[in-house]
Structures are given as structure tokens and as C-alpha cells.
């Protein structure tokens, strides 16, 4: 803005993006102050999807929280499941069987691929590339088929249990999984090829919504957003859980921490996840898929049907819930958007005393107002917001 005397006096325009707006996935409201097309100030409001996960958890048994977890980050529900189960296992001090760990790794990585496909697809769509979005979603659907075969549902999986997982891999799973991955990644590559080198897309993404390493670390950002700034921090490497220490994979990092880097990091991460799934499928050992601990795990069904001990055990676990030892614990996983943690407090009863979620995108959302948005144009809100990958269920809990 020049300050000549002839400038017309203007007022900035305020527009309300959301909570109901095509680009605001997960209902977020942004009050945007515009000077022309340039953003002067934004005020982001979250909480429109608040369904009280944390409070609701306090009124049900430990095991009944599991289906609620599915609804946190609903594009990668399996990771939520495992994160919650892992926190509980930490508190119960149980070690899950090897096979269960592998199944968790396979399921979690498929989920992560789905997550990145959704996020990147949506980013593409929001800058107008509808076809790449649908290719990504189509690829994701192919993976959901696999998830459905494994868990019985596509999204509301309810798959993890304290001490393991609910089901073993179905027969012939490895082959079908690889086949689905092949098909999915063919589409994924098409979507990639449609956008990544296209100048229109690069112009929209490059140098837009930049954050520096220092800012990211200062704000507690994790996941692809942090890695896009060049910090190679991935919980699967930094503090390996399950069997990630046996997997070979690379951590993709970006340089600029801009939207384009986030796009690239997610693309690459999905491919790395594929590597992990393939390795895990090759290495998975036979064995039980759940611990046998009558304190926490429902007894096998035939014991329930035929012995009073099993039946009593079953009844007590259902009526009162598994008595998780008193104490507090923080369980963490590398979720689709970053560090997904559950901070759990137990008073020794069958219900959580407190179950708090450290949701990665909530942390990332706080960057929008001070750093990411001001100075950009209104059209940039969309890809920037898309690259933060805010998932309402997880952010608002």
C-alpha cells in the first residue's frame, strides 16, 4: 500500500469462512480480514465438531472407549485404536504377542497410507484438481476393502484390544493386500503425475504457508508438517514401538516447510508405508494375536460357553470392565498427522478416570493464525489449511 494523499480510504473486508464451507473439512470457522485478496488477519475457531470424546470416555469401560477412538482421526482409525491400546498396555504392563505387533504395524501403515491419500487428495481437490482427488480416494477405497476384510468395517473398525488385536489376518490376506497396494499405488502415481510437476500446482503450493524448523519445534508440531521443515523426527524411528525397529524405511524430509514440501513428504511417506507393509507381511510370524490375561482380556469363547470360570471372568470384564491398575501413563504413536498420544489416568476401576488425547492436528492448527495465513491470498487458505490436515474428530475431540 502506498500512502499518497490520493489513495482512496478503504476498509478491510471481513468474511467468514466456515463453519460450513467447502474447504473447511471438519467444520472450522475462520474470520478472515481481507485487504483486497490479501489476508490481513485470521481468527480460527475450532470446536464445532466437539463430541466430547474425552468426557464420554469417562462414563464407559476401558474396552468401550475403543469404538469411540475410531471416530477421532476418522481417516486413519486403526492408528487411533492402536495408540489407545498401547497406552493401556503400558499401564497394565503387558507385552503383546509378536504376531499382534506385526498385525498392528500392517494395519497402521495401511491406515497411514489412507490418511495421506485423503489429505493429499483433498489438497489437490481444493486447488481445483478434482481428478487426482478421486484417484487418491479410489486408491484409498481399495485399501479400505482390505481394512474391511481384516476388521469387519471400513472406518469404524474397533480392531485393537488390550493386549492384542481382535482378529487374525484372514487366509490369503498377504496376497490380496499386495494386490490392492499395487492397484492403489498405480492410481496414486497417476494422481502424483497429474499434479506434482504441473506448474499451476507448483505455483499454488511452492513457498506458500512456510514455517521454519524453529517455529515448528517451538509450536510442538509433529508429523509430516514438522518433517516438511527438514526435521527428520518420526516416532517410529525416534522411539520405535511395536516392531518398527525391524522395518527398513526412510523418513522423508522437506527443506522449506511450505505446502509443497508437505505435499511431497506425504507422498513419499505413503510410499515408505507401503514398503513397511510389504516387509511386515513377509516377516510376520505365526502365533497368538492376543495375550491371555484374565484380568484384561475376555476369555476364549469356548471357555465362556463351557466353564463357569470362563463365564465369570467374562461377566466381570463386561460388567465392570477390565480393571486397569491405578496410575497414569502417556502412550504415543506416530499418527497420520503426527504424534498421536493418549494420556490416561486410571483410578484402578473399570472406567477411565481421564482419557486425554494429544491430537497432532490440534497443535498444528495453532500455527494458522499467527504464521501460516497472514500475508497470503485468500485462495491460499485452502491449500494451507488442507496441508495442515485438520481432522475435526481429532482436533475437537
Amino acid at each position: 500500500m502506498t500512502d499518497t494523499a490520493f489513495d482512496l480510504p478503504t476498509r478491510n473486508m471481513e468474511i467468514a469462512l466456515g463453519p460450513s464451507h467447502p474447504a473447511m473439512h471438519g467444520t472450522v470457522r475462520m474470520m478472515v480480514e481481507l485487504d483486497g485478496e490479501t489476508i490481513v488477519k485470521t481468527e480460527t475457531e475450532v470446536g464445532f465438531l466437539h463430541r466430547g470424546f474425552e468426557k464420554e470416555s469417562e462414563s464407559v469401560h476401558w474396552a468401550q472407549v475403543m469404538p469411540y477412538c475410531d471416530r477421532l482421526n476418522y481417516v486413519s482409525p486403526l492408528i487411533n485404536n492402536f495408540a489407545y491400546a498401547m497406552a493401556l498396555e503400558k499401564l497394565c504392563e503387558v507385552e503383546i504377542p509378536e504376531r499382534a505387533k506385526y498385525i498392528r504395524v500392517i494395519a497402521a501403515e495401511i491406515s497411514r497410507i489412507c490418511d495421506h491419500m485423503t489429505c493429499n487428495g483433498a489438497m489437490g481437490m481444493e486447488v481445483g484438481g478434482f481428478t487426482p482427488f478421486l484417484y487418491m480416494v479410489e486408491a484409498r477405497e481399495l485399501l479400505y476393502d482390505i481394512v474391511e476384510e481384516l476388521t469387519g468395517q471400513r472406518i469404524t473398525v474397533n480392531f485393537a484390544r488390550i493386549g492384542g488385536v481382535a482378529h487374525d489376518l484372514p487366509p490369503g490376506f498377504a496376497g490380496r493386500c499386495k494386490e490392492a497396494l499395487n492397484k492403489a499405488f498405480k492410481l496414486f502415481d497417476d494422481a502424483d503425475a497429474l499434479l506434482t510437476r504441473n506448474r499451476i500446482f507448483i505455483d499454488r503450493m511452492n513457498k506458500v504457508g512456510r514455517i521454519t524448523k524453529e517455529q515448528a519445534i517451538a509450536y510442538g508440531i509433529t508429523g509430516p508438517m514438522l518433517r516438511a521443515t527438514g526435521v527428520a523426527y518420526d516416532l517410529r524411528k525416534a522411539a520405535p514401538y511395536d516392531v518398527y525397529d525391524r522395518m527398513e524405511f526412510d523418513v522423508p524430509v522437506g527443506d522449506n516447510g511450505d505446502t509443497y514440501d508437505r505435499w511431497l513428504v506425504r507422498l513419499e511417506e505413503a510410499r515408505q508405508s507401503r514398503r513397511i507393509v510389504e516387509q511386515a507381511l513377509a516377516q510376520i510370524p505365526p502365533g497368538p494375536i492376543c495375550i491371555e490375561d484374565p484380568r484384561f482380556v475376555l476369555p476364549p469363547k469356548d471357555e465362556v460357553y463351557t466353564s463357569i470360570e470362563g463365564l465369570m471372568n467374562h461377566f466381570k470384564l463386561i460388567i465392570e470392565g477390565a480393571r486397569v491398575p491405578a496410575g497414569e501413563v502417556y502412550g504415543y504413536t506416530e499418527g497420520g498427522n503426527g504424534e498421536l498420544g493418549f494420556y490416561i489416568v486410571s483410578d484402578g476401576s473399570g472406567k477411565p478416570y481421564k482419557c486425554r488425547v494429544r491430537s497432532p492436528c490440534f497443535t498444528a492448527m495453532q500455527l494458522l493464525d499467527p504464521i501460516l495465513l497472514p500475508g497470503n491470498m485468500i485462495s491460499d487458505i485452502v491449500p494451507i489449511f488442507g496441508s495442515v490436515n485438520m481432522i475435526g474428530g481429532e482436533c475437537d475431540r
Partner: protein, 185 residues
């Protein structure tokens, strides 16, 4: 620890800057999809759409579909109204009224057993909670649409009349869902 720098794979050269070649390539990709879908044969077609009521997806064996109540040999319900399912239900969607059975080996049966399918979240915890193998979700059908809220409340008779899919082993029932340990070992 392997680290990949993603920027290294991207150049912003004259080639990208000139718009047109990448656009032509993009067109080639989308046209490829278009032609293989529009004029291709069965193998090359890759249409994901299911023409729903006419075509239906076959759900995998584990699919948690609509619930059903199992029957005893004599056709009565296996359910004994123990309330385990309604207790395990995180959505509070199962409503049971118990009654005294004239048969003193059974003692108890559900005078009413209703599932509000609008509240149900299909998590399968009721099936896991059932100590009588009386409720399963192996019908292989998804919830039908409803016109009124009352329609969504499915009663005992309807639940008993549903059949499981052939070929799907009982989800939890006869087989040990934690594989391995034979009974009494």
C-alpha cells in the same frame, strides 16, 4: 536412519515453467483413463462404481452387518436376556426385557429384545459380549434405510428371522477367536 529429502526429486526448470508439456502429459493420463474406461474391455476397465440396488458388493466374511439372534434347535431364541450385550454396548442401543420361562432349564428369556439401529455403531462388542452365542452380526447385509425412527428399532422376532450367510464361519462362536489354545490345555 534413512532420510529422504523430497525436494531433491523436484526441479523447477524451464520444462515445468513452460506449463504446456506437463499439461499435455496430464491430458494423456486422464485421456488414458477415459479411453480405457469408455472403450476398453473388461480387463482394462477400472470403474469403481457399483450400481447399487441392481449390483451389490459382497461383503467380506468378517463384515459386521445387521445383527441377528440365533435360535435353538426348537426355534426358541438362544438369548436368555442376560443383558451382557446391552451392558457392553457403547451406544446404549440394546433394550431388553427379561421374563421367566416355563422351562426350568432355561428359566429366563427375553420378552422384548430391541436394537435401535439408528443408535447402533456396529462395533461388534455385543457379539463379543454374548455368553450364549445368541447374537451375531454375520448376516452380511448392511442396515436397510428407514422411513421412520420406529422402523429403526428392530425387535426380537425380526432379529430371530434373519439368517447368517452361508460359508461364513461363526464370527466368534464355535471357534476360538484367539487361535491356538485348545480347551482344557
Amino acid at each position: 536412519m534413512g532420510v529422504v529429502r523430497v525436494r531433491d526429486r523436484v526441479e523447477y526448470s524451464l520444462y515445468e515453467r513452460s506449463f504446456v508439456p506437463e499439461i499435455l502429459r496430464g491430458l494423456a493420463i486422464t485421456l488414458g483413463h477415459f479411453f480405457s474406461n469408455a472403450f476398453g474391455n473388461k480387463e482394462t476397465r477400472n470403474l469403481q462404481t457399483v450400481r447399487y440396488p441392481e449390483e451389490q458388493r459382497v461383503y467380506p466374511a468378517r463384515y459386521r452387518g445387521q445383527h441377528r439372534l440365533l435360535q435353538r434347535e426348537d426355534g426358541s431364541s438362544r438369548c436368555v436376556a442376560c443383558y451382557m450385550c446391552s451392558t457392553a454396548c457403547p451406544a446404549y442401543c440394546i433394550h431388553i426385557v427379561a421374563a421367566e420361562s416355563p422351562d426350568n432349564r432355561i428359566e429366563k428369556y427375553p420378552a422384548a429384545f430391541e436394537i435401535d439401529l439408528l443408535r447402533c455403531i456396529y462395533c461388534g462388542l455385543c457379539v463379543e459380549a454374548c455368553p450364549e452365542d445368541a447374537i451375531r452380526m454375520d448376516t452380511g447385509v448392511h442396515t436397510p434405510p428407514f422411513f421412520t425412527r420406529d422402523d429403526a428399532v428392530v425387535g426380537r422376532i425380526d432379529l430371530l428371522s434373519l439368517m447368517g450367510r452361508a460359508g461364513t464361519a461363526p464370527a466368534y462362536g464355535a471357534q476360538n477367536y484367539r487361535e491356538g489354545k485348545p480347551r482344557g490345555a
